[in-house]
Symmetry: C2
Subunit: 116 residues, 2 copies
């Protein structure tokens, strides 16, 4: 069985976690995982990007320690590492999830609505 | 008097704020502002980078809405836009400041201690 590399929680980098969460597609993945069950397959995410870009985004999240990924057959199942993140960076994940939700309901996100 | 451009709080981009905070030098600036008084001059920050890199980091923070910068004579004074950030993204700034402090006391940050 192939396995995927994950950082131990003691080795999480705040730089990497914040950079991972600084992308709207990756926050969408995180928000779906936070609002749903564990072990969601990559194909269960309706993302506005190509499949290879999607794979890239999942990998960035995994390598930062934000999600756990494991194979089941040919599918990859994704789970939010909420407990690990909350232990290392208390309050951070939820603050980002809340802020992401607010940008969706507020309807204004910088990239989507450039000035001018 | 020259003035510097700042985004209105309604136009803050969560992408830009998180990307701005994903750098350890910029978090150091934010932490110093959070723990001190308003209107701290750029030269009051002892940063491990060149002056032009330092200027770049302050600009990234300003353009994301994290800090306010204004001229006083030839100096630039910096103030954390804590109220604006707290209004737009409740809890986010403090969670990042706390996480940054924890990485300093914990002594492990991914970039500083590469695996191997």
């Amino acid at each position: 069985m192939r396995t995927l590399e994950h950082p131990e929680k003691e080795r999480f980098s705040l730089d990497a976690v914040l950079a991972a969460l600084a992308d709207p597609v990756r926050r969408r993945i995180v928000a779906q995982l936070a609002g749903g069950h564990d072990d969601q397959a990559c194909i269960a995410f309706d993302l506005p990007v190509t499949r290879s870009t999607s794979t890239h985004h999942f990998r960035v999240l995994r390598e930062a320690g934000v999600i756990d990924q494991r194979y089941r057959g040919t599918a990859i199942l994704n789970t939010l590492r909420r407990a690990d993140l909350d232990e290392r960076f208390p309050g951070l994940l939820q603050a980002v999830i809340d802020a992401h939700a607010a940008t969706l309901t507020g309807g204004r996100e910088g990239r989507a609505a450039p000035a001018g």
